[in-house]
Point group: C2
Chain length 238, copies 2
């Protein structure tokens, strides 16, 4: 059997698994004292340890030893997306972006949004599960929903980063491969199915957001989010 992997943000400070992880260790995997485990802190480190006491409330471990410490990636992807009506579509996208690797996923609502609020609790569980499955070492951050205006305003104070928004226009905007400079922090904005309003698109252009195209096909919101994330990874491939 392969050694099970757990997520615990501060294993050095506190040698216990969270309640969720303890339930998994105790009830699902039925781990016992002395069983080996791996622990990810979601900040680049991987540890090995041994189960001390396992209960479904609180599982403790000992002999913690760092076995991997990854450098921060040379680029960072921050996705900002207008959530779809069907929550399932966002859950899928979050899972896939976390598999590919992503710094953060945040949400905004704009004029033609299909959904003005979103609960992030399940999404946080999804990124933890994808972290463990994908062997990535950095846990994506899930940011709560903000209004389009707030988001554009927040970003005005981040001049060194690349700000890009998916834009359907005729003629089409340049593709991501033509728009990004390598090894930066990218903030990628994906609008709702009903698109940005004229006013919103103009506000983005005025605020130094660069429009980009994702190709000829019209992609659904969640597909656009993962296509942009995947394209940026491919552009950094050696």
């Amino acid at each position: 059997m392969s050694i099970p992997v757990f997520y615990e943000p501060n294993p050095i400070a506190s040698p216990f698994l969270s309640e969720d992880e303890s339930i998994h260790a105790h009830r699902v995997l039925r781990l016992k004292a002395g069983d080996p485990i791996f622990i990810l802190n979601g900040k680049g480190q991987k540890f090995e340890a041994k189960i001390d006491q396992s209960t479904s409330k609180k599982t403790s471990f000992y002999q913690l030893k760092e076995i991997e410490n990854a450098d921060k990636p040379t680029y960072a992807i921050h996705l900002w997306i207008a959530p779809t009506k069907q929550m399932e579509r966002m859950e899928w996208m979050v899972e896939k972006c976390a598999e590919f690797g992503i710094q953060s996923i945040g949400f905004f609502h704009s004029r033609y949004s299909e959904r003005k609020e979103i609960k992030t609790h399940r999404l946080e569980k999804i990124v933890i599960s994808a972290l463990k499955q994908s062997k990535n070492l950095f846990l994506p951050i899930i940011n709560p929903i903000v209004s389009f205006k707030e988001l554009v305003h927040q970003m005005e104070n981040k001049p060194v980063e690349q700000k890009l928004f998916a834009y359907i226009s005729e003629p089409p905007s340049p593709s991501l491969s033509k728009s990004i400079q390598l090894n930066r922090a990218y903030h990628i904005l994906i609008g709702p199915e009903g698109d940005f309003s004229q006013e919103e698109s103009e506000a983005l252009l005025a605020s130094d957001w660069t429009p980009f195209s994702l190709g000829r096909a019209i992609l659904r919101t969640e597909t656009a989010g993962l296509a942009a994330t995947h394209a940026i990874h491919l552009l950094h491939e050696n």
Copy 2:
């Protein structure tokens, strides 16, 4: 209101929408005689027409006129995948691959497969719906499940096409960008979560399949299928 789009493989031979499409036209959209519609034949042509009689069994149209006739793409992606246990994951992947555009999606079962059979009826509905939504003009073909052996055998008689399989190895295989020649027909094989057996990998190598890597992260089967499809499109981007 935007003009609704329907799929009908032979609108010239038979001026009727299928029962599924008729239900949509009649009950959901409540179209009436004289209303304009678009029709895709899934083979590169787009037509405009007008509703003649609309019933939920059989909707007829008239004044059919071709308005677009796309050339076949210069490259073709044929994905062969070992279906996942959860059917939902395959449905989602098929939808996304159809949005990006794909020639065909077929299934196979191999030694460590999680699923030995798969019903394709729902998948055929999904590709039709993605065709209409994405504005692609070619309907992906869904191929029924075959055994790994049959598939490898079938492909032995197709020497001019590029045959590639996703392979997790140390050191990693070259990426798709290094493995494909542009403007070909690609047959891409994605194994089950339990991977190909040693014997199967050897059979693929012996039968001139090229191994490729999808990057450092370990992707789920369905994510690997869509990542490969998307990567090939990006490599053909102008």
